[in-house]
Amino acid sequence: MKNSRRTFIKLAGIAAAGLAVAPKKALASEGHAPVKPNSTAIHAEHWAMVIDTTKLHTAEAIDKLAGVCHHIHNVPHIEGKQEVKWLWHDTYAHTFPEQENPHLAEEVHERVFPLLCNHCENPPCVRVCPTKATFQRPDGIVAMDYHRCIGCRYCMAGCPYGSRSFNWGEPRLGLDLEKLNPEFPTRMRGVVEKCNFCVERLAVGKEPACVEASEGAMHFGDLKDPDSEVRKVLREKFTIRRKPSAGTEPSVYYII
């Protein structure tokens, strides 16, 4: 066959059509990702926590829970302004600055309150994170992907609760390397870290470590399930959340 311009254009057209189809076929044959959630994992539509401050309100008791949390998550111990904290305690005035009044019951005013990331329904930290290192999971947990964190600290500026800590130095220097939890990673210098509602424990069917260690002073469950433990407690007891005017809708509730 003599090669004319006409036949060349015909062949080129067929080849172009083939190129347009072939990659899709190649993709279709790969199928879905070969992964699934753990069979032992516990699921919820929206995880939430209720803290009973009538039972848990001393610095010693809260520090004990913080110790458990910080140990299993390899949170470094650093004194001073550069401290890293996932769970800590503070006064009424600092915990509920908007809900203070001069004639508050003295007993309530003198309590100290356990604080942690509120895993807000409307988290400002997620909105401001430029790399999506901080993200909200479908089950409401605000999680961090430390692989993506570039240390810009926008999330720290965005969080109205100071729930995030920046690793100014090498975090491993603040850890007792003999007593490391080998099941959980540490962080590196230059990333922000925070409480993760123990996602790694939920994935194997366990409750968060602080809830487990709290001896009933903390409740954990599905906020969207009317029969869940947290909903039962919320129905029976009066609860408040931190800084309502910030509009972040925290998932951590405090029984006063």
Binding site: P34, N38, P185
Partner: protein
């Protein structure tokens, strides 16, 4: 040709230097892949050896996103066997020595992945 001797001599030296790495390379020993210390009790990795050798970095990247971002922590390999997605708790439980398994190849290839800036190696940290 003007300055013929100088030009030819220069060219000879130039080509000698250009091909020197190849010439020296064939004279010295052949490249040998580093010998890795494989796990004692397990015979098979989660995927075939060839796949792991060439694709483990992509697999680890996918594992990272599946576990952390998608909340899917069980991996089903090509044979249908299930594994928990975890570098520290699955990979390094079998390959119990970072120095003998990871470092040998990485040092040889001149790459230094930053996995260990955060993940705890099986030997523990010093």
């Amino acid at each position: 040709m003007y300055n013929g001797f100088a030009i030819v001599a220069g060219l000879v030296i130039f080509f000698a230097m250009l091909t020197a790495p190849f010439a020296l390379g064939t004279m010295t020993k052949q490249y040998k892949e580093p010998e890795l210390k494989l796990p004692k009790n397990e015979k098979e990795c989660i995927e075939s050896t060839e796949f792991m050798r060439t694709e483990h970095m992509q697999l680890l990247n996918e594992w990272r996103d599946w576990a952390l971002r998608d909340g899917k922590r069980t991996y089903i390999n090509h044979k249908g066997k299930e594994f928990t997605i975890s570098l520290q708790n699955t990979c390094m439980k079998c390959h119990a020595s970072k120095a003998d398994f990871c470092d040998k190849c990485h040092n040889d290839a001149g790459v230094s992945p930053y996995c260990w800036d955060c993940h705890v190696q099986p030997e523990g940290l010093k």
